[in-house]
Subunit: 125 residues, 2 copies
Amino acid sequence: MASRTATDLVHPDRDELRFTEVTAALSDPVRLAIVARLAEVEPDGELACTTFALPVSKSTQSGHFRTLRESGVIRQRDEGTRRLNRLRRSDLDRRFPGLLDLAVASGRDVLDEWSAARGVTAIGA
Amino acid sequence: MASRTATDLVHPDRDELRFTEVTAALSDPVRLAIVARLAEVEPDGELACTTFALPVSKSTQSGHFRTLRESGVIRQRDEGTRRLNRLRRSDLDRRFPGLLDLAVASGRDVLDEWSAARGVTAIGA
């Protein structure tokens, strides 16, 4: 992972956040689920990419995290071999008040749907 | 335009609005510009598709209006040969409080940028 230096992780400044890019990032259920999980560990918590157990391939998951980072929804940093993620709550609340809370609520709905689907599978198995 | 009956214009019910689809619809500058223009004629005003003078082709414009309608951002109806548009303000404010206001603000920024660009062109001509 030598190529994963801090300089690889580009983050837009607060003033560079664009509504079109943030809403595009929030228009996907997997990314909303990530946002909802990160909201559970606010304000100071970070979660490693590997802890999410998302129902998508590893490469697809990486793409989702990148989209969230490049749009300004999350901040990522590398610590050893782990890539840690946190919400950019203050930047988002300043630029687009209320938007992140809506996304978190919708992300919780996604997580609930996934839980319910797993429950149905378990019962049917 | 005989095929354009009211039944062609499918609108999701308020409870069917999905955050992923609404944010996707709001993640495009042309669609944000449409939203901002429609906000200028609230609460009771409607604007015909032909009045927008958007910097895109007619077919592209039609696609943008369809995306806005199918996601639940606008309501469309046909009156003679005109297709009229209005924001679904109450439905959106109920389901996703504050989201439409953020979109309107961003759409105004798009309109301002377009105006500024036209001004520069005029000066440069």
